[in-house]
């Protein structure tokens, strides 16, 4: 009889996992190339900072000559009685999951890569830097007493300021419409004996820590002045881009530069300095007078941040719609004044791609004549350009040449 049987030990055989590891490596490379797309993902921008983001990553495409999947029908079998016109499956909608069509199109497989926001942040920040940083800091004398001088969002748990953290959570909840608070909070640290009657769920971004300086490293004093147009002309897209950019900017600064201050300014026809929360959450209305923001920026700089001791980084995001040519000229003059004391001035104009075409706003045209190399302007027409904007504003190395654009 020509049959035989055996059983051997395959435990050392590793070819499959080894090749799969190579595939994984290539997928991660592909992710790096798509970072622009991924970081503008809604799940991240609207997260509270602690989520693990599930990003659907296709397995790598294996290109070959194939039929167009949308054109290629097929043959299937039913339970009986199928008639012409019956619908047997549906394409998943935009942004939905695989739905019922898992396996419908061979070759399109999703496997969710999971990243924490910190992991993504590390990938993003790898190439970012505070540009044109100058040695303007003062030496700090080591304090004899440790004095708690500051309250920040990052710190060590023993320094957790419970009261402020809980207050922050309450504030956030109230602003979110005062929805019913959850039953438990997951942070043991927030359990004060005389806690408010309802317990709130604390998020990472609510936490506040008392911090103190104890090192003698020379400090690079730096301040970022974040300005944002909140006039009525800023639509959903413009709002989202501004928010996405500043989300990553703030995160970048807080992670890498512990001593950076951030000043938040919103403007419509008037400008005002606001808290970080308000900056991210205020609604839009009103007309636009950009000069109001630049004026406020300049005044704050004069009052609080003398240029000989501070590295200053003003940024402004807008859709370019301004009051009129007079104001455009006024803005240009203000920028030229501000820029004498700034390391760079970043201007980002946002307009969604189909409406942009070759349109140049009045503001953009006025700014074209600014010659200072510290002035960096760019346009954003799509979500995946946020990453490019981050890289353009936060670069390492020398100032770029200012080209007439």
């Amino acid at each position: 009889m020509s049959l035989s049987i055996s059983q051997n030990d395959w435990s050392l055989h590793r070819r499959g996992p080894k090749d799969q590891a190579r595939h994984q490596e290539k997928v991660r490379e592909a992710i790096k190339n798509r970072l622009g797309d991924i970081i503008s993902n809604e799940a991240i921008i609207t997260s509270q900072g602690d989520k693990i983001v599930k990003v659907p990553i296709k397995t790598l495409d294996e290109y070959h000559f194939r039929y167009d999947p949308g054109q290629r029908g097929g043959v299937g079998g039913g339970p009986g009685g199928t008639k012409p016109g019956d619908v047997i499956a549906r394409e998943p909608g935009e942004g939905e999951g695989d739905g019922q069509l898992a396996g419908q199109e061979p070759g399109i497989d999703y496997y969710d890569a999971e990243f924490t926001i910190d992991e993504l942040a590390a990938m993003v920040f790898k190439d970012l830097d505070l540009p044109n940083l100058k040695d303007r800091g003062q030496q700090l004398i080591p304090a004899r007493k440790l004095s708690f001088t500051d309250v920040r969002q990052k710190g060590i748990l023993p320094n957790l300021d419970k009261k402020r953290s809980v207050l922050q959570a309450i504030k956030r909840h109230a602003m979110a419409g005062g929805t019913a608070p959850r039953q438990e909070s997951d942070e043991e640290a927030s359990g004060e004996p005389a806690a408010p009657p309802k317990k709130f769920r604390l998020k990472n971004d609510d936490l506040r820590f008392r911090t103190y300086d104890e090192t003698v490293e020379p400090q690079h004093n730096a301040v970022v002045i974040a300005m944002r147009d909140v006039s009525g002309s800023m639509g959903d897209f413009e709002k989202y881009i501004t928010r996405a950019f500043y989300f990553w900017m703030v995160r970048f600064l807080r992670t890498n530069y512990r001593n950076v201050e951030i000043v938040f300014i919103t403007h419509h026809t008037e400008a005002k300095e606001v808290s970080e929360d308000d900056f991210f959450n205020l609604g839009e209305s009103g007309g636009t007078r950009v000069s109001s923001a630049y004026t406020l920026c300049r005044n704050i700089m004069h009052e609080r941040y003398p240029a000989d001791r501070w590295n200053i980084y003003p940024f402004h995001f807008s859709d370019g719609d301004n009051w009129g040519d007079d104001d455009n000229e006024e803005c240009k003059k203000l920028i030229e004044e501000i820029i004498r004391f700034s390391n760079i001035f970043g201007y980002g104009e946002i307009r969604e791609a189909p409406y942009r075409a070759n349109y140049e706003s009045g503001l953009w045209r006025a700014f074209k004549t600014i010659t200072a190399p510290e002035f960096i302007s760019l346009q954003i027409t799509a979500k995946d350009e946020v990453y490019a904007a981050l890289k353009k504003f936060f670069f390492a190395g020398d100032l770029p040449q200012r080209s007439a654009s």
Partner: protein, 471 residues
């Protein structure tokens, strides 16, 4: 529960073998190897044990493993076309499962041995594949694994474009194997072709034209006529082509082979003396194997099984009409089955033997995508339409038919391909990427003539940019 095969596997095999022989099966000598699940889906992903490394195999391995780990699929067995054949059994199979699997495997190895479509295949392929893998590993060592991977990426993208049909290629005799020196080599060669607007296909002089006739074995063409390849690259092309030629018959006979093996595992198990509980368990397993499948795809096991059963029945009980006009005599079912297994492929089987009754009983239908609603909808059309759609989907083993028309396009050694449109457009985005791969191998501009939405286009790639021209 013990997961080991029963403690007298030789005896089990003996019983199965005896019954199989009584039924007239004639398999290759078969060796069974008991392996962990990881090995079964690894061999499934690579096609053969010992095959060369590549990330695409890793990806397939991962997908199979995931499906298995989530209980979405189970590969009971894997059997290799070779003489002697090798079959791998899941070490977690129960004794009953293995009985069924052995019977199923013998059906396969009988098919490998007796199907004419398999007669040109290399029955020592497992050894050859290991030799190939060693050569490729040596190239990785010498030239770097990245360089080899990049080249393999390109070669694998084209591997389906081969032909099993042997033929004479007259131009092969006229050309020496060593590449001829360029008739005109100047420092400006690379810009000579630029800016040339794609003209309709020129009719070059007959003596210079390569290929003389449209060539559907693109891989062969590249091996013979791509000039700027190093020896190791040409070897890799030849290796991949040879391995794909080996697999092609299996791809071409999936439905009939699985139907055949399912039919025989059923009959063999019935003939074995199973206890009632065993029989009930077996019935469940069998039903799982030959189940109809999802609404969007027909299960090849199910289709093949039903068609073969139908053939046997019809030839056992021919109608009055058939007896009179075709001279059929009753009781020829078994003989007809054995004849069919020898001569038919999936496509010819369905074209000849998928009847109106079968289409109706199995509730088969063809469907298309309604682009505006995003719904996959059943076509209007009768059973013939369904049958014809199914048969057409098997054209060229499911791959678009690409032919080489000219290896010296523009008198500039550019490569001109055409997609022979059979009713469905190809994917233009994938095509563009594949042209980039082709360029990597051919090293001169490459062109593909194809029809999209009823209009003819010429897709071109010159190493720097893509162009798409209406023709």
């Amino acid at each position: 529960m013990t997961t080991q095969i029963d403690n007298n596997p030789e005896k089990t095999m003996g019983e199965v073998w005896d019954v199989a022989q009584q039924f007239g099966l004639d398999p290759f000598p078969t060796h069974f190897e008991i392996v962990p699940a990881a090995m079964v889906y690894e061999f499934g992903a690579y096609g053969l044990p010992g095959r060369f490394s590549h990330w695409t195999h890793g990806k397939a391995y991962y997908q199979m493993k995931t499906m298995y780990d989530h209980g979405l699929s189970k590969i009971y067995e894997l059997v290799i076309n070779a003489n002697p054949s090798q079959a791998f059994l899941l070490e977690t199979n129960s004794a009953l499962e293995n009985k069924m699997v052995m019977a199923h495997v013998l059906g396969h190895t009988d098919f490998f041995k007796n199907s004419l479509i398999f007669s040109p295949t290399n029955r020592q392929m497992p050894e050859s594949v290991a030799v190939h893998a060693n050569r490729i590993a040596a190239y990785e060592f010498t030239h770097g694994s990245l360089a080899v991977e990049r080249f393999l990426d390109a070669v694998l993208s084209l591997q389906r474009h081969i032909s099993l049909t042997p033929r004479n290629r007259p131009e092969d005799d006229e050309r020496r194997l060593t590449p001829e020196p360029d008739p005109l080599t100047t420092p400006y060669d690379d810009i000579m072709g630029m800016g040339v607007i794609a003209a309709p296909r020129e009719t070059p002089e007959r003596s210079r034209k390569i290929p003389l006739e449209p060539e559907d074995d693109l891989m062969y063409f590249l091996i013979r006529h791509a000039r700027d390849l190093e020896d190791w690259q040409r070897d890799i092309l030849a290796i991949v082509r040879e391995e794909m030629l080996y697999f092609l018959p299996q791809m071409r006979t999936k439905i009939i082979n699985e139907g055949w093996a399912s039919l025989w595992h059923y009959r063999i198990m019935e003939a074995l003396d199973l206890a009632p509980t065993e029989y009930a368990q077996f019935s469940t397993m069998h039903a799982g194997v030959v189940s109809p499948g999802p609404r969007t795809r027909v299960n090849p096991y199910y289709l093949g099984y039903k068609v073969l059963l139908d053939i046997e029945k019809r030839w056992n009980e021919p109608t009055e009409e058939e007896q009179r006009s075709l001279g059929r005599t009753p009781g020829q079912g078994r003989a007809k089955l054995f004849e069919v297994r020898e001569t038919e492929s999936d496509q010819t089987l369905l074209r000849k033997y998928l009847t109106e009754d079968l289409v109706h009983d199995l509730d088969l239908y063809s469907y298309h995508l309604n682009k505006s609603t995003g719904e996959w909808t059943v076509d209007n059309g009768d059973w013939k339409h369904t049958r014809d759609q199914l048969v057409a989907s098997l054209d060229n083993d499911g791959a678009p038919l690409i032919e080489v028309l000219d290896g010296d396009y523009h008198r500039n050694r550019e490569l001109y391909l055409i997609h022979r449109h059979g009713g469905t457009d190809i994917d233009p985005q994938y095509a563009a990427k594949t042209l980039e791969y082709l360029y990597l191998i051919w090293n001169r501009a490459v062109h593909l003539e194809a029809r999209f939405e009823q209009r003819n286009f010429l897709l071109s790639y010159d190493g720097h940019e893509h162009r798409s021209t209406r023709i």
